[in-house]
Amino acid sequence: MLLKDTPVTTDKLLSVQDLRVHFHTLRGIVHALEGVSFHLNRQETLGLAGETGCGKSVTARSVLRLIDPPGRIVSGRIIFEDRDILTLDDTAVRAIRGGEISMIMQEPKMSLNPVIRVGDQVAEALLIHDTSLNRSSARTQAEEMLTQMGIPEAHRTSRRYPHELSGGMAQRIMIAMMLVTRPKLLIADEPTSALDVTIQAQILALMDKLVQDIRTSVLMITHDLGVMAETCDRVAVMYAGNIVEMGAVRSVLKDPQHPYTQGLLKTVPDKANPDHPLYAIKGNVPSLLQPQNHCRFSDRCEYAMARCSREIPPVYQMTDDHEAACFLHDGQSISSGGKQVDLMNP
């Protein structure tokens, strides 16, 4: 049973199908995404996990059609509601950006324009998408949004410039800016990675509350599996430009079906046994310069079979909402193998 053949149903907000993105570099073509497919239901939070360079951010940027040269979306479909984002004209895509799909980035302080007052930056998001709005009521709405983000003295803070704010405050501004237009989908690209550990939870909680209030779906990109366990309904695990495993968060984290996901979960330090040596998946991430013709993980996989280095594994459906792209499931299921931390019940 292949996921790619599942028909688009109406409760799906976003459906990415067989997305391929290449980067044309001096060393050759980097195959950053090689047939990524997933969907996101309304009011659902989907986590996208994987190590640096696996294509999480490229996937996110593709959804907004904001891949910078030398990158190029080669093929695939990105169906948002009933429109294919990849075939829309520029005006229609701009109306979606910031209006229906927003994105929060990793570095809040770098993501705010240093020469514009933060309140005006939030208000700008409103003004772009509602031309009937005047400047002062946009400002008022922006300040209300800042108050909702738990920013003290919203009026005074909105007159400040980014360099006068802390990282956490800047990220609240970013979230306010991206949610003030009440988008249907929020992409959060590692929203807390650049922040102090002490305020990460705060920011996540605030974001979560706002997302509930305005009924936004979230595509949460993170390499922090703890964050994922807390905030996501479903997760997709990426490795070297492919989604290797996807399913309900409980199912994937408790009973991972792909050897890469199993390895990834084993790398989470065990707080109960602090003396236990840290686990690392052996080997290195493969070069993406060669087009894929076999399982990208086969070189590092302890279960690798002969066919793994010859064929691309299809997606096998384990349960209704759990699938993995691994030949081990060609017939049976694999056990989790080895001890791992239970993220669902820490």
Partner: protein
């Protein structure tokens, strides 16, 4: 803000005193006798001696310096040996012509240089980028006297699109002298014929001078635009759905202009000194020509007066640049430091 301005004016005064001292001692150590230039090569010894006494060159250095400082403190720049008029009067006569030309030339450099820099950053390695690169190369590396002569040859002599060198057609009567700037004076007098004729006369010299400034401005705007366009906040603006024009102007250019302001300020300072070569070629009665002659004839009072003026304009331009910085970059506050 006011406090900042007061502090800057005090600094300015100190700078001017420093310049006064330096120019005085430079005039002492130059290996030529200004008297032989004033009196002429064939003058008898007693004439030279009399002049030496007249100008006070026979006094000890500290007396000479005291007199000189006292004079300057009273705003008296002395008399020009060359014209026989007070240096201040000469400057008031020649500087407006240079100021007018420099301002028009700078205006031209800015309105062409900034868009050219932006376009060549946005369309990197496209024909417009190559065009801008070649134009900048010409602007920086071609000697102005050559460009000036070639432009005169083509656009005045061959094509007749622009008038002869000079500030105004000889058949026209200058309007009443208020500011000394023909464009301004003719506007005040509502004399449109003079205004447009003066503008036409200004075009070629302003173009030649402006090309140099344009080169620097276009290059710095291009490189700082390239830098800014790769910043995260530009992506943020696009994510918000802003139109590309808004992304480039409101979000990118405002940031990219901060380094460009320095270059623009330096260019203006340089233009205000007057260009000896351009002013000579275009028969422009400006400060450059006046000072050029003053240097060659060892007209010391004029040299010192001109140097002070140039230093003063540079300091003022720098002050304006610093104020502009504070306006463009909220990270810079004028109150403290």
């Amino acid at each position: 803000m006011l406090q900042y301005l007061i502090r800057r004016v005090v600094t300015l005064a100190i700078t001017l005193i420093g310049i006064m001292v330096v120019t005085f001692f430079i005039s002492l150590v130059i290996p030529a006798d200004p008297l032989s230039s004033i009196a002429g090569p064939q003058a008898p010894q007693e004439t030279v001696d009399r002049l030496r006494k007249l100008y006070g060159f026979d006094q000890p250095i500290y007396i000479q310096f005291g007199r000189y400082a006292n004079r300057l403190a009273h705003g008296d720049l002395g008399t020009s040996f060359q014209t026989g008029r007070p240096v201040l009067e000469d400057i008031a006569k020649y500087f407006p012509a240079t100021f007018e030309l420099a301002t028009i030339a700078l205006f031209f450099s800015i309105i062409v240089g900034i868009p050219l820099g932006v376009l060549s950053a946005v369309y990197r390695n496209s024909p417009i980028d190559h065009f801008s690169r070649v134009l900048s190369l010409i602007g920086v590396s071609m000697p102005v006297f050559w460009l000036g002569l070639v432009f005169l040859l083509i656009f005045y002599f061959k094509l007749g699109w622009f008038p002869e060198p000079g500030r105004l057609d000889i058949m026209l009567i200058e309007p009443e002298r208020l500011t000394g700037m023909l464009l301004v004076d003719s506007l005040i007098a509502l004399d449109w014929e003079v205004f447009f004729d003066a503008l036409k006369h200004m075009f070629l010299p302003a173009f030649v001078l402006g090309l140099y400034g344009l080169a620097g401005i276009a290059r710095i705007v291009r490189s700082s635009m390239l830098d800014v366009l790769s910043q995260e906040y530009i992506k943020t603006a696009r994510i918000k759905g802003a139109r590309e024009f808004i992304v480039l102007t409101r979000h990118a250019l405002r940031n990219a202009l901060i380094p460009a302001v320095t270059i623009i300020g330096l260019t203006y300072g340089g233009l205000l000194e007057g260009s000896v070569l351009t002013e000579t070629i275009f028969s422009w009665p400006g400060l450059g020509r006046y000072l050029g002659t003053a240097f060659l004839t060892l007209d010391l009072n004029a040299v010192v007066g001109g140097t002070m003026l140039v230093a003063l304009t540079f300091c003022l331009v720098n002050l304006v640049v610093d104020l502009l910085y504070a306006f463009l970059d909220p990270k810079i506050t004028l109150a403290r430091s």
